[in-house]
Symmetry: C2
């Protein structure tokens, strides 16, 4: 490589991002260098800020820049509905659809015998606490329509039985599909037609 050490280091780090390999990382770095003032400098600046400030919400697992996220601190969102998702990307997909006005609980994954992920590895104990302490009437299990997602939904339903009304997203989520891949309209339709477990 004829580029100097720092440029090589930048390419190497960019290649570690999901969706980028060595070749696309090289293209991205050349693009960044060419768009220095429009892209590289602003990106470097905001990355420094996010590196210094980003954290997981201690209550729900959402990503934000405060110990308790904007959704958890908003009184408007305390409507008695709690939507359980696997991942922050799923929470973002729900928020883009704009259909849900309550709060979230991000599990941080699914139960998996294969990967030895048990309830204590997710935020399931904290979920049980929240249902009691936040006056939750309805828990919407918006987990992915995968085997692990549905296994996790059933486990949570067992834990919460009798403590809140349990619902899941309606048919409309494709079998084997992941929330973050769906368009907003599909999510909205599935949410509106949600059914009791």
């Amino acid at each position: 490589m004829s580029s100097t050490r720092d440029i090589d280091a930048l390419i190497e780090l960019m290649a570690k991002l999901p969706g980028l390999g060595p070749r696309s990382a090289r293209r991205a770095v050349l693009h960044l260098i060419r768009k220095r003032s429009l892209l590289l400098t602003p990106l470097a600046d905001v990355m420094q800020i996010v590196a210094a400030t980003a954290r997981e919400c201690l209550n729900c697992g959402n990503v934000g820049t405060t110990d308790i996220c904007d959704i958890c601190t908003s009184e408007k969102r305390a409507n008695g509905e709690l939507c359980v998702v696997e991942d922050v990307a799923d929470l973002w997909a729900m928020e883009r659809s704009g259909v849900f006005k309550g709060r979230y609980h991000v599990l941080g994954g699914t139960l998996s015998a294969l990967d030895a992920v048990g309830p204590e590895d997710l935020r399931i104990p904290r979920l049980v606490d929240r249902v009691a302490s936040e006056g939750i009437d309805e828990v919407i299990l918006a987990l992915n329509a995968t085997i692990d997602g549905q296994t996790t939904a059933h486990y949570i339903a067992d834990q919460l039985e009798g403590r809140a009304r349990l619902t899941s997203l309606a048919q409309g989520v494709p079998i084997g599909g992941e929330l973050d891949y769906l368009d907003d309209g599909t999510i909205t339709a599935a949410m509106r037609a949600r059914k009791a477990l």
Copy 2:
């Protein structure tokens, strides 16, 4: 979006990179936040350094961190051979193959009637100067095997006729192919079998 302003800004800037769209930018940002100390902080730091130091070599157009790049300042590379490429990514591809020991000249594109790119928009006048002033015996035209690439090669060959031996990469570069997509072996074979124009 439930994420705060800085995280949104980071997603928006990442989505401007070639090869990333909004969805893959969101995935990349979540990955960065999760790997804060291993990936986000080092990436932010090296990006700041590259934003402050990266520049185009005033002599050849290569990207580096000095006004004149390492290849142009290395006496070892002054072997009388000059390899003309369209883009820095092509120079990097040549360097990875390790087959070429001379210097480079990066045009920064190709002549294009459609996009109104003329000789003065590329580094062609500077190329003519360099052939005279750097004691170049052989100019290897390593342009892409596209119509614009070959048009540009013929134009440069006309300009340099009688001033240096002109060669081009051997057959072996696929028709319509671009250097940066080729494996090192193909580039090495095409370079070794280069022929006089």
